[in-house]
Structures are given as structure tokens and as C-alpha cells.
């Protein structure tokens, strides 16, 4: 039964529907929510297999179904679905692992009050993750990317009444958001440069040759090719989401969420999204390889960051005491490996490692989950111990997961995928540093995993919780077993001798011969790691929980630094945090005093002029007026005295006047 690309949207739609149902069901409807979620996930898994069948028919083809989201100016914003082997494989992995984790979490979260809301968020997360996988448009990918961020926020902060969880959720969201800014800018630049955001659109798509050549030819600031710049910006998003070196701080804190969440998000899917993104836009990322003269190749940056993160993750993991923190840091380092693989040019190896890692890391987390479940939420390995006895199945599956992760040769998938990466790193012509980092990381991984197993499972129970530990119910242990089987079998899909997986992903893939020497070195390194681990922790098992860690005894300050995650959180708090508060204060002060001040000044000015005009009005104008009227009155008085009131006098004057007049006329001689 094959699923054509038009119906591809069903895969994410089903979990979304389940999430909707979950949101509407009241708290009491636990069965409904769980049923809907798991059912939807199962169906999605079946559909994914169908999609895989169609994709495998023609691995090279990119089946596309595009549609218009809304008109914009003369053209329109168009989204679409893409089906190719990468999508299909990832969908199958995500749906399968998701299904197992959902089943596990029904048991794990059984007695939690907000059970329904938990499942609603889980299926929301699954839908978003699947959205990323099937997206044929960078915009749709970005939308699902953000929704995944939201889901992770909701899930990490699920027990929001715990302030630590709430803080962790916020931190996760903010850090990924910082990465997403880069992603957004990259996307904007891409859409501006090429006019569309669709990957494959019958020739006009972004990842198709015409757009790519255009991008490569344009250069931007610092001589970088536009495609390199966009690639780097997109890589920021990926780094944020996959917890790469500068933005990895949120991953360990994300362990505050329930273990299935950690398993689902921080092992299998979300963190893998970053790698998937780079893999998806690999043509764009590798476009600038052709230009030798380019000052910087996007992929070399990816490789560098990958190497650093791998090394960093592994080193810190050694000094962690919380079982989930150790696994978190191991995820960080494994993701570093995948980025390394992408950087050195072999995205196929990265995807192969991604798939294998998804399974055994999910296994480890779930096992840890069942340990915690069993040990009544005790997570500190120093408190645990001697669980080998009571938790037989958990111990067995945990051991398988540990060995796959460490890369125990031949039997476990981890070995083959890590082998492929190292092989690719070895073949990288730019520089060998990542290769050496990879090797060191292999040793460290082996070391801290054996420490973990030794501390947690061997020796005697060191706390009341670990004493009464009892095996988890079947609903939890069955997924563990299934995962363990996959962790083993999956490796054989991509061995150098029968690189089926690589071929399906990249038909042009050809495995170079002579990997044998490399394989031997890695086997030796793994053995070295496990041996030293056992040597330090296996033989002299810890007596009491409070006993100092052997390494801590030897190198106390280094161990303390590593335990404190190399102080990145404090560093960020110190720099970004303070800058942030400083800016906030500055803005507020600016607002409160500068602008408000200016307004108050203006008002004051208005009042001042008001007073001035009143003053001048009061004494200048009125005063002058009074003075003149006074003057007028006095002159009037003098003249009024002439009015004597004596009529005779008046008549006398008239007569005299008459006389003078006549004299004047006669003498005047006007005749």
C-alpha cells in the first residue's frame, strides 16, 4: 500500500487531531486522550511506512505537492509537501519511536493529575515534528519548527508548579528562539534572493540548480557567497534547536520535564530536527563548496561546531551525577557527531547516525525513566546502585543501549553509524582536527557510559528508594525491549559492506574502500574507554551515596568545573543576562526621564511663558494705562476752572470776542 504525496499531510494531521481531542477532553477522560494519541500515532506510523514504500520506488525523485497559502502582490505565498527517502525514513523513525514512547508514558504518567493535557501536548509535538519532516517549503518548515519549540516549552514546563521546570521551559524556549532568529533571517534572505521558499518547485525551487547558481554567484558582506551566509543563518537555527555549542545550555535543564518527554524530545525527535534541517537544505549548504576562493565554507563551520560540541558534551557528561543529565550531555555530544558528519560532507552518515542514535538514546532515556519510576523519582546515580538485581529487564535493555551508544563493535548499530562518521571525517580534506576530536569523544563516551552503568546498577543499594525498587510494569518494559531490538538491528542497514541506507538516501553514494584500519582504531578506543571506566568505577564500587567520586578525588577542581557544566550558564547570565537587564533599565530610564522629562520641560516652559505674560500684563500695560488716565484727569481739572458759572462773564467774553473779530476784519484789510 503506497501513499501518494498528496495525502502526505495526513501524517501530521492525525496527531494534530488527537491533540485537538486531547485539549477538549476534561481531566477525567484519561483513556480517551491516551487512546486517541496512541491510535493517531499508530496510524501515522502505518502511513509513514506507505510513504516509505512510495519513496523507495524511486529514491532519486522528489515527489512534490504544492498549493497557495495566500496571495501576496502579483505572486503568492505557496506551501507544499515533499516526499523523498529522507522524509520517509525520518517519518517512520519518528512515528515508531513516538509510538513506543507514548505507550511507555501511559505507564509512566499514570498517576499524574494532568494526564490528558500531557498526551495532548505529546500529540501536538508529534504533529509539529512530522510537519517539519514533510515540509517542502522553508516557511512551512519554520512554522512547524516554532510549533515544535512551543510543544517543547509546554512539555518541559509540564510540571509548571515546580519553579525549576517553569524556568527551564522558558530558558529552552528563549535559547531556541535566539537560534530561530538566525533561521528567520536566513529564510527571509532566501525568499528575498530567490523570490520563493519552496524547496522543489518544478525547477524554480530554492534547492534546484537555477536558484542555487544564482545564490552562489551573488556575494554579500565580507565576500561571502549569499548561499554561504544563508546557510550559516539556517545553521544558527539548527544549532539552537539541536543544542549545539553556543546554544546547548537549555538541553540539560530541559530534563526537568517528565522522562518520556526527554526521551521523545531530547533524544529522538526535536534535537534531531536541526540535523534534519541541514540535511534537507544540504544542496544549499554545499553550494559554496564549488567556489574554492570563498573565504569561508558553510560546511566547515558546521563541522567545527560539531566537533567542539561533541568533545564538550562528552567531557561534561563525565562529571554529571544525575542520570538524565548524563544522557542529556551524551545527546549533545552525539549531535555534535552528526553535525561533524554533515560538516565533513557526508549528510548520509549523519542521517544514519541520527536514526540509530534516536533508537538507542530513546531506549536509554526510557530505561532511565523506568529506573526513576522504580526508584521513586530518585535521579542521582550516587543514591542509586545495585539495581541490577531488582530491575532485570531495565538493566538488560539499559546495557544494550549503553553498548550501542559507546559503539561496541559489530553487534550494535551505534558502532556502524559512528564508524561511518569517523570514516567521512577521516576523508575530509580540509583539516583532520574534527577527526581527532571524534576519536577522543569515542573514548570519553565509552568511559562515562560505563561509569553510569557501574554506579547505577552495580554495587549495593545506597538509598531506601533504590532498595525497594521493583521492576516497571509490562507497558513500560515492552517498549524497552522493542527499542533494544531496533538498537541492534538498525546498524546492519548502513554497514560499509551493504550501505543500503546510504544508497536509498543518496543514490550517488559510493563507499570508499580501506575503512578497515579506521575500524580497528575505533574498536581499540572503545575497549580503552570501557576498560578505564570499569577500572575507575567497576572494581571499587561506591559504598555510600556521599562517597567522593574517584575522579573528583584525583582532580577535584576540574571535576567541579565539569560538574558545573563549565559555567556556561553563569557566563551567559553574566553577559547576555546582564546586557539584557542593562538594556531594559536603559530603555526604561530613557523613557522615564529623557522623553517624559522633555514633555515635562515643555509643560514647564508653557507655564513659565504664561507667568511672564501675566506679569507684564499686570504691571506694565495696566500701570501705563492708569498713569495716562491720571494725567488726563488733572489737565481736565485745570481747564474746568475756566467755567466760572457767571453768565455775565460769558456774555462779556462774547462781546469782547465780537469786537476783536470785527477789528481784525476791518483792520485786516481784506477789502
Amino acid at each position: 500500500m503506497n501513499l501518494s504525496v498528496q495525502y502526505l499531510w495526513l501524517i501530521p494531521a492525525l496527531p494534530l487531531l488527537a491533540a485537538g481531542i486531547g485539549a477538549l477532553t476534561p481531566r477525567s477522560g484519561k483513556a480517551i486522550a491516551a487512546g486517541a494519541t496512541i491510535g493517531a500515532m499508530g496510524l501515522a506510523f502505518v502511513l509513514s511506512c506507505g510513504a516509505l514504500v512510495t519513496a523507495l520506488k524511486d529514491p532519486a525523485a522528489h515527489l512534490v505537492a504544492n498549493f497557495t497559502w495566500f496571495e501576496l502582490g502579483h505572486s503568492a505565498v505557496r506551501l507544499g509537501w515533499l516526499l523523498d527517502p529522507l522524509t520517509a525514513l525520518m517519518c517512520v523513525m519518528v512515528t515508531f519511536v513516538g509510538l513506543l514512547i507514548f505507550i511507555f508514558s501511559t505507564g509512566y504518567m499514570h498517576e499524574d493529575a494532568n494526564f490528558t493535557r500531557f498526551f495532548c501536548f505529546l500529540s501536538l509535538f508529534a504533529a509539529a515534528m512530522l510537519g517539519i519532516l514533510i515540509a517542502n517549503s522553508l516557511l512551512l518548515l519554520f512554522i512547524s519548527w516554532e510549533l515544535v519549540g512551543l510543544a517543547s516549552y509546554l512539555l518541559i514546563g509540564f510540571w509548571f508548579h515546580k519553579p525549576a521546570a517553569a524556568a527551564a521551559a522558558k530558558k529552552a524556549f528563549i535559547t531556541t528562539r535566539i537560534g530561530d532568529l538566525g533561521f528567520l533571517l536566513g529564510m527571509l534572505w532566501l525568499s528575498d534572493a530567490t523570490g520563493s521558499l519552496l524547496f522543489y518547485d518544478a525547477g524554480k525551487g530554492v534547492l534546484e540548480t537555477s536558484a542555487l547558481t544564482a545564490l552562489v554567484t551573488q556575494t554579500t558582506v565580507g565576500g561571502l557567497a549569499v548561499s554561504t551566509a544563508i546557510g550559516l543563518l539556517l545553521f544558527c537555527g539548527a544549532a539552537g534547536k539541536s543544542g549545539q555549542f553556543p546554544l546547548h545550555v537549555w538541553l540539560p535543564d530541559a530534563m526537568e520535564g517528565p522522562t518520556p518527554v526527554s526521551a521523545l524530545i531530547h533524544a529522538a525527535t526535536m534535537v534531531a530536527a536541526g540535523v534534519f534541517l541541514i540535511a534537507r537544505v544540504y544542496p544549499l549548504m554545499s553550494a559554496d563548496q564549488a567556489i574554492a576562493t570563498a573565504p569561508l565554507h558553510a560546511l566547515s563551520v558546521v563541522a567545527a561546531i560539531g566537533a567542539i560540541t561533541a568533545l564538550l558534551g562528552a567531557v561534561i557528561a563525565v562529571a554529571q551525577n544525575d542520570i538524565k543529565r548524563i544522557l542529556a550531555f551524551s545527546t549533545v555530544s552525539q549531535l555534535g557527531y552528526m553535525m561533524l558528519a554533515l560538516g565533513v560532507g557526508s549528510w548520509v552518515a549523519a542521517i544514519f547516525h541520527l536514526l540509530t542514535h534516536a533508537f538507542f538514546k530513546a531506549l536509554l532515556f526510557l530505561a532511565a525513566g523506568s529506573v526513576i519510576h522504580a526508584a521513586h523519582h530518585e535521579q542521582d546515580i550516587r543514591q542509586l546502585g545495585g539495581l541490577k538485581g531488582p530491575l532485570k529487564v531495565t538493566f538488560a535493555t539499559f546495557a544494550i543501549g549503553m553498548m550501542a551508544l559507546a559503539g561496541v563493535p559489530f553487534v550494535f548499530s551505534g558502532f556502524w553509524s559512528k564508524e561511518a562518521i569517523l570514516h567521512a571525517a577521516h576523508g575530509w580534506n580540509v583539516s583532520h582536527l574534527p577527526f581527532y576530536a571524534g576519536l577522543v569523544a569515542v573514548v570519553l563516551t565509552a568511559f562515562y557510559m560505563t561509569r553510569l552503568v557501574a554506579e547505577a546498577f552495580f554495587g549495593q543499594a545506597r538509598s531506601p528508594a533504590s532498595e525497594h525498587a521493583h521492576e516497571s510494569p509490562a507497558v513500560m518494559t515492552v517498549p524497552l525491549v522493542l527499542l533494544a531490538i531496533c538498537a541492534v538491528l538498525l546498524g546492519f542497514l548502513g554497514t560499509p559492506y551493504w550501505p543500503w541506507l546510504q544508497h536509498t538516501l543518496d543514490p550517488k553514494f559510493h563507499s570508499e574502500p580501506g575503512g578497515g584500519g579506521l575500524m580497528v582504531t575505533s574498536i581499540v578506543l572503545v575497549a580503552l574507554g570501557i576498560g578505564s571506566g570499569w577500572a575507575v568505577y567497576g572494581r571499587r564500587l561506591r559504598a555510600k551515596a556521599s562517597a567522593p567520586d574517584p575522579i573528583e578525588a584525583k582532580v577535584p577542581d576540574l571535576f567541579a568545573a565539569l560538574a558545573a557544566r563549565l559555567g556556561f550558564d553563569e557566563l551567559y547570565a553574566a553577559t547576555v543576562g546582564r546586557l539584557n537587564t542593562f538594556l531594559a533599565d536603559a530603555a526604561d530610564v530613557f523613557d522615564r526621564y529623557i522623553w517624559d522629562g522633555a514633555v515635562r520641560l515643555l509643560a514647564g516652559l508653557g507655564q513659565f511663558t504664561g507667568n511672564v505674560t501675566r506679569e507684564t500684563d499686570e504691571n506694565l500695560v495696566n500701570g501705563g494705562f492708569d498713569a495716562t488716565s491720571e494725567q488726563l484727569k488733572s489737565t481736565a481739572k485745570t481747564y474746568s476752572r475756566a467755567q466760572t458759572g457767571d453768565t455775565h462773564g460769558y456774555l462779556m467774553l462774547v462781546a469782547l470776542g465780537f469786537v476783536l473779530l470785527v477789528l481784525a476784519v476791518m483792520l485786516g484789510g481784506t477789502r
Binding site: 481747564y639 476752572r641 475756566a642 467755567q643 466760572t644 458759572g645 453768565t647 455775565h648 456774555l651 462781546a655
Partner: protein
Amino acid sequence: MSLSPLQLCLLFSSALFCVGLIGALSRSNTILVLLGIELMLNAANINFIAFWRFGPAPAAGTGVVFVLFSIAVAAAEAAVGLALVIAVYRHQKNIRLQEANRLKG
């Protein structure tokens, strides 16, 4: 000195005018002052008739007409003047002109 009849009349009227004026000025009794003024007015009328009779344009009777009007107005004036005198008297109990000087500055 040959005086034309006109000049004679003018002399007569100016004589009458001056008598009226002197009377008006010298007497303190308001009624006599009014009578003096009345005299002056009549002197003017005499001039009118003199100029009508001996003046250049005897045909036009304006001189006579004006005398009539002047008589009428003078009569009215005399009536009002004397009414005022009576009012003043009622108020002031004597009609000496000097004492009716309330309207001074």
C-alpha cells in the same frame, strides 16, 4: 455827512443792540438780562428789514420772511427763558444771575 437811510437804520439798530448788551451785562436781575437779550434780537430784526428795504435786492422778500421767523423764535425763546427764571426762582428764592452758578467747573 450824508448818511444813506440804510446806514441810518444800521446805526439805529446797532445803538439798540448796544443798549441791550449794556443792560444785559449790567443788570443782575435775570429777567432784565433776558429783556436785554430780547432787545438785541429785535435790533437784528431791524437790520433785516433795513437791508430788505434799502438793500440791493428788495424784490426778494427773504428779509421779511426771516424777520417773521426770527420774531417767532425770539418769542419762543423769551417764553422758555422766563419759564426757566421762574423755575430758578422757585429753587433759589431770588433771581440774581450771579447766584445761579451751580454749573461751574
